[in-house]
Symmetry: C3
């Protein structure tokens, strides 16, 4: 139950967005034990004026080329898993030619009762969590 | 204090979005004791390439026709209320001709101090919660 | 680590959006001890049909002219700080000619391990929080 929202400049091609989510998902699987099928993402696009990012708070970035990776995440991942996720996502971003420092990542957590993917009910009841 | 965000394919007509939120709101009132006036919603629209949903993780869905219902919710609802909400929303979606399995629902909770609707201050102070 | 999302009618000019975020950021610095460089914001724009707000629940508002200020916030601010934030933001909105009651504010909290701004890792590890 990660649900990925990736906020990008409107000019980022769909193919790159898809590649970014692919790497993000692979990284979640590898570092956080996410089910390989648990892959859900929305891409939100913004005009240049609608993204306002400080250029060097907690790391240098190009504000005009920065993406924001926001993950609604089922709680339970350890601090070590989250650190590994941040490191691995950025390694993968570099691997597809995207400057890793032009990415801001944040997580918002909830619980199994807070998710429902079908008429079968909540993730808590479906998976017995 | 639910605040509804409904993420939809850009082609979903405004009338259907309005109907979906109407049913969602009625369901929140009925299953979670939400005040009938506490009705707030944003509809976010996406191009096909910008929605990426697995076709059958935790239930079958048509990725091209799936909506995401994200609710920022004042904490305090029981697991039973949440299960009732998921069931009731989907029954209502079917009632307006929308395939219920083409909906993903998730909740993000906060507290009375985390909401403010007017110059009177937070919901905590206004409602004495 | 506030991350500001401001949801606005599509017709709100970019200059006003920028002014609103400027005031919001100044208010966060003043009332919540936010670092003056910790300034990050996304503006999301909506067609009239895609914003549905009750006209007078917990305060009067013009639904067609209402904005929503959603802040992902590092936890740890006191209730008093949050009340001061709500009051100060609205005072500032009035100061730039924006009707303060046409604003809904809500906060979603997380922890230092839930943020990462660069290859250096999480805010927890970078700032030793």
């Amino acid at each position: 139950m990660p649900f990925n929202k990736i906020h990008v400049p409107a000019t980022v091609p769909a193919t790159l967005c898809r590649a970014i989510n692919h790497e993000l998902h692979e990284s979640l699987v590898e570092t956080c034990g996410v089910n390989p099928h648990d892959n859900f993402c929305l891409i939100s696009r913004y005009a240049p004026d609608d993204m306002m990012f400080h250029p060097d708070f907690l790391g240098p970035r190009d504000p005009a080329g920065t993406i924001v990776i926001e993950i609604a995440l089922l709680s339970g991942r350890s601090d070590e898993q989250k650190e590994a996720l941040y490191k691995d996502i950025r390694r993968r971003l570099r691997g597809i030619g995207f400057e890793p420092n032009n990415s801001i990542i944040f997580l918002i957590e909830n619980r199994p009762i807070d998710w429902s993917f079908s008429e079968a009910g909540s993730v808590k009841s479906v998976l017995g969590l």
